[in-house]
């Protein structure tokens, strides 16, 4: 019946010229690109589109997860028993430490109270299932199944059983996006366990991480474990982040190139724990604030600068 329309075929009704349309859509998409990147103010648009896309995406991921489930099921009771034995063994071998941990924590609390030091924050959180990795080849992100409905907010850290996995960067109504610590330029403030030295470790985007801005003669060795230093208000102190795997010291540069590999199964599928946001840090001391707002550091430096300006 398609050929029996009585309206004349739209030979002359073509809408705007293609070039005009091209200009319009090009400008629109470039504007969206810049606004999303620089101002981050399009999150509402992203969330509302995600509300439509997300269920479809979950359905599309179902066959893969069914295959995984079937494989796990068929792997059978034998491997389960092996795992079980291993776990029981591991539990027994860690029992001496674990049994005393409670007592140690209590003792630590008491000592801290005696010293009038602020009490350590407890780590609490919720377990989330990784649904899929984002398809974007330029970044390393995963999507988990907890979102605004479960009270997840942007900025919460995510860990697995071995260490830090990443940080929640975007929250959707029913899911959240976690940027992995190995994503390019994703920074985690860390501390070297052996020496106690603080630094910041950056993701390189290829699965490795780099400890930047460490002097060439810094006390870092291959095998050093980096844990979170807790200096930011995001990560709690003491979670393992990475292990140093390679150090290049070149006297031509003032900084050593120190590469590290993440300890947590950052690229694996599975479950992560999204830790609750930290309690806000105390405000910075007032004298530092007044110095910063003043704009000048020491009064003794002023005449020098003036003299230098005059000399020129």
């Amino acid at each position: 019946m398609a050929g029996f329309d009585h309206a004349p075929p739209p030979f002359f009704k073509r809408g705007p010229a293609p070039l005009a349309l091209l200009t319009f859509y090009t400008l629109l998409s470039l504007a969206v690109f810049v606004v999303d990147l620089r101002f981050r103010s399009l999150d509402l648009l992203r969330q509302s589109v995600a509300l439509v896309v997300d269920p479809v995406q979950r359905v599309a991921q179902t066959p893969g997860s069914l295959v995984d489930y079937a494989r796990n099921y068929l792997e059978g009771i034998r491997s389960l028993q092996l795992d079980n034995d291993e776990l029981r063994h591991a539990k027994l071998s860690t029992a001496p430490n674990l049994l005393r941990l409670e007592q140690l924590e209590a003792e630590n609390d008491r000592l801290r109270k005696l010293l009038v030091v602020k009490e350590r924050e407890n780590a609490k959180g919720q377990v989330a299932q990784i649904l899929y990795t984002a398809r974007d080849p330029f970044s390393r992100k995963v999507i988990v199944d907890k979102g605004q409905q479960s009270g997840v907010v942007a900025g919460q850290p995510a860990i697995d059983e071995a260490g830090v996995v990443g940080q929640v960067t975007r929250v959707f109504p029913f899911s959240a996006e976690i940027t992995l610590i190995s994503d390019k330029d994703q920074a985690v403030p860390v501390q070297i366990v052996r020496s106690g030295q603080r630094s910041v470790v950056f993701g390189l985007g290829n699965g490795q991480m780099e400890l930047r801005y460490m002097p060439a003669n810094a006390d870092v060795q291959v095998g050093d474990v980096l844990v979170t230093s807790g200096l930011d208000s995001v990560y709690l102190q003491g979670f393992p982040v990475a292990r140093v795997v390679n150090i290049e010291r070149d006297s031509a540069y003032s900084f050593a190139r120190i590469f590290a590999a993440p300890i947590a199964g950052v690229e694996n599928f599975g479950e992560v724990m999204i830790l609750d946001p930290r309690q806000p840090l105390p405000p910075p001391p007032p004298e530092a604030k007044s110095r910063g707002s003043d704009g000048s550091d020491k009064p003794g430096l002023r005449p020098k600068k003036k003299r230098a300006a005059k000399g020129n």
């Binding site: 398609a2 050929g3 739209p10 073509r14 293609p18 349309l21 091209l22 859509y25 090009t26 629109l28 998409s29 470039l30 504007a31 969206v32 690109f33 810049v34 606004v35 999303d36 990147l37 399009l42 648009l45 992203r46 589109v49 995600a50 439509v52 896309v53 479809v56 995406q57 359905v59 599309a60 991921q61 066959p63 893969g64 899929y132 990795t133 984002a134 398809r135 974007d136 080849p137 330029f138 970044s139 992100k141 999507i143 975007r170 996006e177 390019k184 330029d185 985007g205 290829n206």
Partner: protein, 173 residues
């Protein structure tokens, strides 16, 4: 049923719902976990290119923009990245469509390849400009395979439009 395109063959008019269905299926294919395999084609770009060559009155830059937005959100990419690339792709394939359809299918595929490569290159340049890393040459294998798929894709997407080869002269429709 005739598997190849030839200009002597008169096709039935396309059904709009089939166009939309094929675009949605392409989106679904992009959402599958197989999208992480190396060398997987960008199905949305391929199907969009096909329909903007065949039916540029129905599928154009507006559709390209919306599909791009959906892909951006689904990928977790920067908004506007796929939009821009798809809009350029739709414009280029629309303006090439009159020429493209004169060629036999393998040569059409050869001419589609630069368009699909352009889509990937534009996206890569946009991300490199704002500080991402080069994702590796594997990123450009997708368009190569996509252009190899042009011939089977044409066959599949034109299936509802083929007329039976032996027609009854008494009943032309």
């Amino acid at each position: 049923m005739q598997p190849t395109f030839s200009s002597s063959r008169i096709l039935l008019p396309v059904r709009p719902w089939f166009i939309y269905l094929s675009l949605i299926v392409a989106l679904l294919l992009n959402f599958l976990p197989t999208a992480h395999w190396p060398g997987m084609p960008d199905w949305v770009a391929l199907v969009l290119c096909f329909w903007s060559v065949r039916e540029f009155r129905r599928v154009g830059m507006g559709w390209a923009f919306i599909l791009g937005l959906l892909m951006d959100v689904a990928d977790g990419a920067v908004l506007g990245q796929h939009c821009f690339a798809y809009v350029l792709l739709a414009f280029a394939s629309t303006s090439l469509s009159r020429r493209l359809l004169w060629f036999p299918l393998p040569q059409q595929a050869l001419q589609v390849l630069p368009l699909l490569l352009l889509t990937q290159v534009v996206q890569m340049l946009m991300r490199l400009a704002v500080g991402a890393d080069f994702p590796g040459w594997g990123y450009f294998v997708g368009p190569l395979i996509a252009s190899l798929l042009w011939v089977p894709l044409t066959f599949v997407l034109l299936l509802p439009q083929y007329q039976p080869v032996e027609q009854n002269p008494d009943r032309p429709i």
